[in-house]
Structure formats: C-alpha cells, structure tokens
Amino acid sequence: MTLDAAWTRILLVSALVATALVGAAFAPHGWPATIAVLVPATVVLVLAARRPTEAAQPSPRLHRGVLVWSLLVTAGLTWEAYAFVRQPDWSRASYADPTLSTLLDPVLEHGPLRVVGWLVWLWAGWRLVTR
C-alpha cells in the first residue's frame, strides 16, 4: 500500500467514524436523524449513479452464490413478513409478534451499539459503490 493510499484509507475511516458518531448522537424518530441518514445516502447514491456498468464475469461459484444468498434473503424476508402480518396493528410494534426492527429497536435506539449500527450501515453503503 502506498503512502497516498494509506492516507486515503485513514481519511475514509475517519469520515465514516465521524459520520457514525454524529448520526448516532441524534435520537431516532426525528428529523435530525432522518437528515443524518439522507446526507450519506445522497453521497452514496451519486457515486452509484456515476459509476459505469461493468462487464459480467459469470462462473459456477457465482451462480451458486446468487442461488444460496437469494434463498437466504428470501427466507429472512418471508419470516419478517410473517411476523409483520401477525401484528394486531400494522402501524404499531407488537411485543407478542416482533419484527426484526422491533427486536433491534432497544439495541439501536441509544448507546454504543447505536454507533455500531451506524458504522455497519455506512460501511455496507461504501462497499456497495467501491467493490
């Protein structure tokens, strides 16, 4: 890794951590938190739109990957939908029939794990446009 690349990486990680700390400082269910999500989302969206289409390089392992990961995502979404429709009131979280967000809310509402949640989300977005 060159010195420039190392500095770029340090700056990027610092920016991600700073954004996560600022985002996590805003309590959920408010406009500041929504704006804190919208700002990095807009940056990543612009980067995604500017990047050109790449040529496909299919292989058997990639086909298996598409199959396996699609099945797992479908299983997760199906279970989430099952929990969601079982809620007595679809507009309110239910203790008896919790969706994934209902289960994660206490963890992601405040504290260090909220910062971790922000970091994971920002890192995933960055990976979407840099892979």
Binding site: T34, L62, G65, L72, A96, S101, L128
Partner: protein
C-alpha cells in the same frame, strides 16, 4: 411456546443459516461466491446499483432514524 418465542427462533435459524453460508463461502471460495462478490455481480449495472443503494438507504432510515 409463545408466538414471540417462535418468531425469535425463526430469526435465529435464518441468522444461523447465514452464518454457516458466510463461513462456507470464506473457507471454500472455489465452490461458493461470498455475499460481497455476489452483490458486486448483481449490482454491476448502474440501474441495479442505484436500486441496491436505495434499498440500503431505506434500511438505514428504517433501523436508525424511524
């Protein structure tokens, strides 16, 4: 067993399956593409990438801001 327990067990089973698939894809890269490689393959076009970013943005809003 309550409905809550059943739902939590269901999520745990899905996450366990994901953890097994992640481990397998890292140990046997010749057999199964990792989730990152698969996502990169599926989002190689601009349209697919933008859709993926919109889903990612919605997840961020849903879990962190809503």
């Amino acid at each position: 067993m309550t409905d809550r327990t059943i739902i939590i067990i269901g999520f745990a089973v899905v996450f366990a399956a994901v953890a097994i698939a992640v481990t397998y894809s890292l140990l046997r890269r010749d057999r199964l593409a990792t989730i990152g490689e698969t996502l990169a393959h599926l989002t190689r076009t601009r349209t697919a990438r933008v859709i993926a970013v919109l889903i990612w943005a919605w997840l961020g809003w849903h879990f962190l801001a809503r």
